[in-house]
């Protein structure tokens, strides 16, 4: 149950330029510094927005994280909505 840690890392990436740089330059080393499950690490490393949302990441953390990575609003919404109802 490390959703807290996962969200903490996403917030750090969103807010802290040095950590953001590490996430780009050496993501594996950065992720190893946080106590994440393999599933969480994989979702974050792959920037799997659908997976991260399904894991419970708060929308006001995940959407800024996606904006940093140049994801458009329609693409983001398509990702988190999953299969159309």
């Amino acid at each position: 149950m490390s959703l807290y840690v996962l969200q903490k890392l996403i917030r750090d990436i969103n807010r802290n330029p040095a950590i953001r740089e590490r996430f780009t330059a050496e993501p594996d080393a950065l992720l190893a510094d946080y106590d994440l499950t393999p599933q969480e690490s994989a979702a974050l490393a792959a920037r799997d927005y659908r997976g991260l949302y399904a894991l419970g990441v708060h929308g006001l953390l995940l959407r800024p994280f996606s904006i940093i990575h140049q994801v458009s609003e329609p693409d983001y919404l398509f990702a988190i909505r999953g299969d159309p109802e």
């Binding site: 917030r11 708060h58 006001l60 995940l62 800024p64 988190i80």
Partner: protein
């Protein structure tokens, strides 16, 4: 020397950051509405402003969330968002008013949190940039946890607001109380872009008629059904508590699809509090 102004205003980032994405008629109505509120506030010669507001993971995180946080700083900086198209500004605080609010609340067994330092994000800087653009009115921010469950109930927001209203009325200054947030929107969530205009209109009606019972009966779940961001309307309910008996006028309402938000602006008429219990 009392409560001299009360209003409410939504704070979608698009209101400033991507204003021209909105249809011109909607933009014009919302800017005219904001100007109406600014003029009202200026005419009231306000000395101090209490702002029921919310935030977006700027100061608080899951490591520490309190239902209410009263800002007691000498000054604040904002906005934190470089893209907001509001330059970095310093906003004066009103720490002695904050102390008075805290003392009054704790004396009535209400126990809000407090902070000596807070950064302001768009949720606070947008209303201030419209209402007090010179940033020359000292502010006490009262941040409500509208972000993460469990959020405070409408009744607890109303109760804290009531104390704030009592302090404002007996304060030897000209005090404004403003609520910001809402209306329906679901930022970052699955229903982002959906605006529940019917809900917004019902809520505006409750604020227009001063229906304290119906406002307090709203649950967080009912607010959240209009989008996670609609929970920010708890700040409007706190304002209702501050006003006691009141009526309100909808200055502007527009469901602005490009801003993904139902945008509401209201101003309020209220008694001097002598007939409220």
């Amino acid at each position: 020397m009392t409560l001299v102004h009360a209003s409410a205003i939504s704070h979608a980032p698009g209101y400033i950051a991507w204003v021209d994405a909105a249809p011109p008629a909607q933009k014009d109505a919302l800017y005219a509405g904001a100007e109406t509120l600014r003029r009202d506030l200026a005419a009231a010669q306000v000395d101090e402003l209490i702002l029921f507001t919310s935030e977006h993971w700027t100061n608080f995180f899951y490591d520490h969330v309190s239902p209410f946080c009263v800002g007691r700083a000498e000054s604040y900086q904002g906005p934190v968002e470089p893209w907001l198209k509001i330059g970095k500004k310093t906003v004066p605080g009103a720490p002695d008013l904050a102390e008075e609010i805290l003392a009054a609340a704790y004396a009535q067994d209400l126990t809000p949190g407090f902070a000596q330092e807070l950064a302001f994000d768009h949720g606070t800087m947008i209303p201030l940039s419209f209402l007090t653009p010179e940033m020359d009115v000292p502010v006490v921010p009262i941040i409500i946890n509208t972000l993460v469950a469990p959020q405070p109930s409408a009744t607890s927001c109303y109760a804290l607001g009531k104390v704030v209203g009592e302090v404002a009325r007996r304060r030897g200054k000209r005090v404004a109380i403003v609520a910001t947030g809402g209306m329906s929107h679901d930022p970052g969530e699955r229903n982002h872009g959906f605006i529940d205009e019917a809900f917004d209109r019902r809520f505006l009606d409750l604020m227009a008629t001063g229906d304290a019972d119906a406002l307090q009966a709203l649950t967080v779940e009912q607010l959240g059904a209009a989008g996670a961001g609609a929970i920010e309307l708890l700040g409007w309910i706190a304002l209702a508590g501050a006003l006691g008996r009141f009526t309100g006028e909808v200055v502007a309402y527009e469901a602005v699809v490009p801003w993904a938000t139902g945008m509401g602006l209201m101003r309020f008429n209220y008694t001097d509090g002598s007939d409220t219990v």
